[in-house]
Symmetry: C2
Subunit: 197 residues, 2 copies
C-alpha cells in the first residue's frame, strides 16, 4: 500500500530497495522499473520522490558513506589515546573491513557516474565531507587547516587505492586480505613516521 | 588487403585499431565488429589473431603498461643520483602525467574485466611486473626483497588512488591538477621521510 505512506517513508523504502538490488546484483541492477516492482508502485511514484535515478543512487551512496563514517567513528572512540599510527591504522583497516563486508554497496559509491555529464549536487559533496573530517581528526593539531584537509584527502585516496586495486583483483589473481593488510599497515606506518618526524 | 599481411603485422594492426577506438570513445567502444570494419576484414580474422576480445584488450592494455614503464624509466634515467624523495616524486608525477595525457587508454587498464569471470592470463601478470620493478629500483637496497616488493605495490596503489579519484572527479567537481600534485607530493614526502627514518 505504497500510496498510503508518507513521502519520507516512501523515499526510505526506495533507497532500501535500491540497496537490496545493489547487494544482490550490483549498481547496474538498480533501475526504476525493478524498484517499482519491488515497491508495488508505478515508476512515476519513484520520480515523485527523486528527480531521477541519479537522485536515488546518490541518496543510497550517501547512506553508505554515512554508515562508513559511523563505523570508523565508533572504532576510533573505542581507542582514544592511541598513537597517531594506531589511529591511522584503525581508520585504514576499518575502511578495508567495510569494503570487504559491503563490497557491492561500497563499489557503487565509486562506480556511479551522473547521467548526461550532470554535476554531482552540492548536498552529496557535503555528505562526503564528514569522512575527511574523521581522517583529519587524528592528525596533529600543529598542522594548518589546509594541511590537515590535504593530508586527510591524500590518506583516504591512498588507502582507497590499495583497497580498490586489491578487491578488484587488478594486480593479482585473487583478493589476498593478508597481503592487502600488510600494504595498508606499511602505508600507515611510513606516513605516521613521516608526519611525526 | 588485410589477408596479405603477416600474422604479427595483423595483430599489431588490430591492437592499433583498438587503441584508436579507446582514445576516441573509451574501452566500451572496442568491439570485434568495429575493429573488423576499420581493418576491412571479417570478425573471424580477428579471432584468428586473438582467442577472444579479452585477448585483444589485454594485448592493448599491456602495451599501455609498457609505454608507461618506458616513460617512467626514461625520466628516472635522466635524474640519476636524485634523492629517494625526488625519485619517488619523478615516478608519482610521471604517473599523473601519463594518466592525464592518455586518460582513456589508462582508464581501460583498470576498467577491463575478463568475460565470464575467466582468470587473467599469466602473460598479462608478467607484463605488469616490470612496473613494480621500476618502483622497487628506487627503494633502499637495505630493504629485503619482500619489503621492496610490498612497498613498490603499496606505492603504486596509493599513487593510483590519488590520481584515479582525482581524474574520475569522485571527491570534487572538477579535476584539479594542482591539488592532485599537492596530494601526491605530500604522499611521497611523508613516505620518503618514513623510509629514511
Amino acid at each position: 500500500m505504497a500510496k498510503l505512506k508518507k513521502r519520507d517513508e516512501l523515499k526510505t523504502d526506495f533507497i532500501r530497495y535500491a540497496e537490496e538490488l545493489t547487494d544482490t546484483a550490483g549498481l547496474q541492477a538498480v533501475q526504476a522499473r525493478s524498484i517499482a516492482e519491488k515497491a508495488g508502485c508505478s515508476v512515476g511514484t519513484i520520480y515523485n520522490s527523486f528527480e531521477n535515478i541519479d537522485g536515488l543512487l546518490l541518496a543510497m551512496n550517501s547512506r553508505t558513506l554515512t554508515a562508513l563514517g559511523e563505523s570508523l567513528k565508533a572504532t576510533l572512540a573505542a581507542n582514544e589515546g592511541a598513537t597517531l599510527e594506531n589511529r591511522m591504522w584503525i581508520l585504514a583497516s576499518g575502511y578495508l573491513d567495510f569494503a570487504v563486508t559491503n563490497t557491492k554497496r561500497w563499489k557503487a559509491v565509486f562506480e556511479h557516474n551522473m547521467s548526461d555529464r550532470h554535476a554531482v549536487p552540492a548536498w552529496y559533496r557535503q555528505a562526503q565531507a564528514p569522512l575527511f573530517g574523521i581522517l583529519a581528526s587524528v592528525l596533529p593539531t600543529r598542522m594548518s587547516d589546509h594541511e590537515r584537509q590535504t593530508t586527510a584527502r591524500m590518506l583516504f585516496s591512498a588507502a582507497h587505492g590499495v583497497v580498490a586495486l586489491a578487491l578488484d583483483e587488478k594486480l593479482s589473481d585473487q583478493f589476498d586480505r593478508t597481503a592487502t593488510e600488510e600494504q595498508l599497515r606499511l602505508l600507515v606506518q611510513l606516513i605516521a613516521r613521516g608526519i611525526s618526524d
